[in-house]
């Protein structure tokens, strides 16, 4: 309302928060998007995988220390994703993709309760190592090192790896071809079900990693899953279904703009993403980077 009273430091603060949020959004949305692009199915349990990643980090940090805990949590969630795909998603291949959405919705309910059963209803906290807590001073501003420098570096590295995997490896060729026409790739003698399991695992791993990285920043609680899954959907719709660059631009856009909304009109922070989505739907229904006709 009082735009004049907002000063540069506040804007920078919110920009920092927005970038942090954006990095995590990118990882979660990219995971969902990879699965969606290749298999054409939505994983409603993706938010639950994110949450499980965060809780696993909480459990593993006292045992293994901070760094191994993050890696382990992500890998465990990834393997769990493979198992999930093999046991529950695979029987639904021949059916309409809506049924996978329904099944994963039911499983998301189950996961939420299992998490409550194991870790309880109350929020838990994960402490980050002392080395990462100190702020770093750039141009006179103190930036939180973990939230803004470390997270950006990790996300950039992961994005580069995923990009290399998709664009420069044999597996990537199969994934890209499968996204266009999975039937045809199968006829060429590629074991598509194994490919699907692998990709589902990678997507889940990204969600688990995002959860592990988010654990020291946000309160880890059982309703984390439902909060994140809807925002992930919004990012995917804004960025374009199944698109690598869409997930990145969508995640950053919504992360930063919803943080900025904190300065402009605080009650509408949660609505920012939906407003952007509504706008995108009106002017460009397939999303910023979406392929025309793929999912329309």
């Amino acid at each position: 309302m009082l735009l004049a009273s907002i000063n540069a430091a506040q804007i920078l603060d919110q920009l920092v928060n927005g970038v942090t949020l954006g990095m995590l959004y990118i990882l979660v949305a990219l995971g969902l998007n990879i699965i969606l692009g290749l298999m054409g199915v939505i994983n409603f349990s993706h938010g639950a995988f994110f949450m499980i990643g965060a809780y696993l980090t909480y459990t593993l940090v006292p045992i293994t220390g901070f760094w191994p805990a993050i890696v382990l949590a992500a890998v465990i969630v990834g393997l769990f994703g493979c198992l999930f795909e093999f046991a529950l998603v695979r029987p639904l291949y021949r059916r309409l993709p809506e049924y996978t959405l329904l099944m994963t919705y039911g499983m998301a309910l189950v996961f939420a309760q299992v998490v409550r059963r194991i870790w309880g209803d109350d929020a838990v906290r994960v402490d980050m190592p002392a080395a990462l807590q100190n702020p770093i001073t750039i141009g006179g501003y103190d930036l939180p090192f973990y939230k803004d420098v470390f997270l950006v570096i990790v996300t950039a590295v992961i994005l580069a790896l995923v990009w290399l995997l998709i664009n420069k490896t044999n597996i990537g060729v199969i994934i890209r071809a499968g996204t266009r026409d999975a039937e045809m790739v199968k006829i060429l003698g590629i074991n598509m079900p194994a490919m699907f399991t692998l990709v589902f695992g990678i997507g889940s791993l990204l969600a688990g990693l995002a959860g592990a990285l988010a654990a020291p920043i946000y309160a880890v609680q059982p309703n984390l899953a439902s909060q994140w899954i809807v925002l992930t959907f919004v990012i995917v719709i804004v960025g374009g279904i199944g698109s690598f660059w869409g997930a990145i631009v969508g995640g950053l856009l919504i992360g930063i703009l919803s943080s900025m909304m904190e300065l402009i009109y605080p009650p509408a922070v949660e609505l920012t993403g939906f407003l952007i989505m509504g706008l995108i739907l009106l002017i460009r229904p397939r999303g910023l980077f979406g392929v025309e006709g793929l999912f329309e």
Binding site: V110, V230, A268, L271
Partner: protein
């Protein structure tokens, strides 16, 4: 005569009459409030049936129908309680109102407006899972409005103390009794479901089925598919609205949960459990869902997990729900039914089009 007895409306009426005597009487635990849970089932029967007009009859999965339930419930609550609003410096004051028909008219009107607006935006631009994601996201808009704008909607606590209406010719406190409210709700629900039945059985309903089976063919037959899809969407929002209207009066309070993802998901589960290709399915699903909720929640506080597991099993092995299983049982007989459920080959022999089952009642 045969047609009357095979009519699902008759069965709906019969079920509504016996429901207050059996609902809530779960074998796991004795619980009171038989009639109260019956009224809950009625509200959700309407809610789920409206949702299923889209999912079962047009083949489009909306994951956001709770928004229409919430809009109607909040409208009724605000109309009944009165409110003060200050929109960009223009104050508006509304006195508490007691006319239930006016509350219904406002509820339906606002739902219709929002539903029509959404349908015009969403329907031509999306289908399939994309459609599900978008409806879910738009439902969150309504959820956050009810949650965040507390001055108007009561925020997290919601609105309490909604007065139940007075029926003409009856004592002022007649609806205060649980049983009386059940009777009122059962009559309203039955009449509204009759309207839904009429819609589904009409030529309009047949076109919806054609669109569900094959959009392209329906288009080649000369039907404006998107127009039908928009109309079906708008119609499907009205039944949750009537449910929400009843719900606000029944609960005498309302909170943001009414528009949450969980409520949207609940009606999806109810419809699928009952059977999406059947008129009676969502009604049966609502009854079974609340019966399970009532029973399991007394044994464990993690009841949602068990309902989730039951739902997943149905999605995996019985996507046509209980009504679909009953239909198979009637069609194939018990021995063949058992053979079909264990052997894939037997299923192939008897069922050529598993993906596109006929409408059963």
């Amino acid at each position: 005569m045969r047609r009357v007895f095979s009519s699902p409306l008759l069965w709906t009426a019969v079920v509504f009459v016996i429901l207050p005597f059996v609902a809530g009487a779960n074998p796991l635990h004795y619980s009171g409030g038989f009639i109260d849970i019956g009224t809950t089932m009625l509200c959700f029967a309407l809610f789920a049936s409206g949702f299923n007009l889209l999912f079962g009859h047009v083949g489009e999965l909306s994951f956001g129908h709770a928004m229409f339930f919430a809009i109607a419930a909040y409208t009724t609550a605000l109309y009944t309680k009165g409110f003060d609003l200050n929109l960009f410096g223009f104050p508006y004051h509304h006195d508490p109102g007691g006319n239930m028909l006016l509350a219904l008219a406002w509820s339906l009107g606002l739902t219709l407006l929002w539903g029509w607006l959404l349908a015009r935006i969403i329907v031509p631009r999306s289908s399939g899972i994309y459609y599900s994601m978008i409806t879910l996201a738009f439902a969150q808009v309504i959820f956050f409005i009810t949650y965040k704008f507390g001055d108007f909607t009561g925020g997290e606590d919601g609105l309490q103390g909604i007065a139940r209406p007075q029926l003409p010719g009856l004592p002022a406190d007649w609806l205060q009794s649980s049983l009386h409210f059940y009777i009122f709700a059962a009559i309203v629900t039955f009449l509204t479901l009759a309207l839904l039945y009429w819609i589904i059985e009409s030529p309009f309903g047949s076109v919806l089925h054609a669109i569900r089976e094959n959009k392209e063919r329906a288009r080649f037959l000369g039907y404006d598919v998107n127009k039908y899809r928009v109309n079906a969407f708008v119609l499907s929002t009205l039944f949750p609205a009537v449910g929400g209207w009843l719900w606000a009066y029944y609960q005498t309070s309302i909170n943001p949960d009414a528009g949450s993802v969980a409520y949207s998901g609940d009606v999806v589960m109810m419809s699928l459990l009952g059977g999406i290709y059947s008129f009676f399915g969502p009604v049966l699903g609502a009854i079974i869902y609340w019966e399970m909720q009532n029973g399991v929640s007394q044994v464990t506080k993690f009841w949602e997990a068990w309902i989730g597991i039951v739902f997943v099993v149905f999605v995996l092995v019985g996507p046509r729900g209980i009504m679909g299983l009953l239909d198979d049982l009637r069609r194939y007989g018990i021995s063949q039914f058992v053979r079909r459920s264990v052997s894939k080959d037997a299923r192939m022999e008897t069922d050529l089009a598993e993906e596109l089952p006929p409408v059963v009642h």
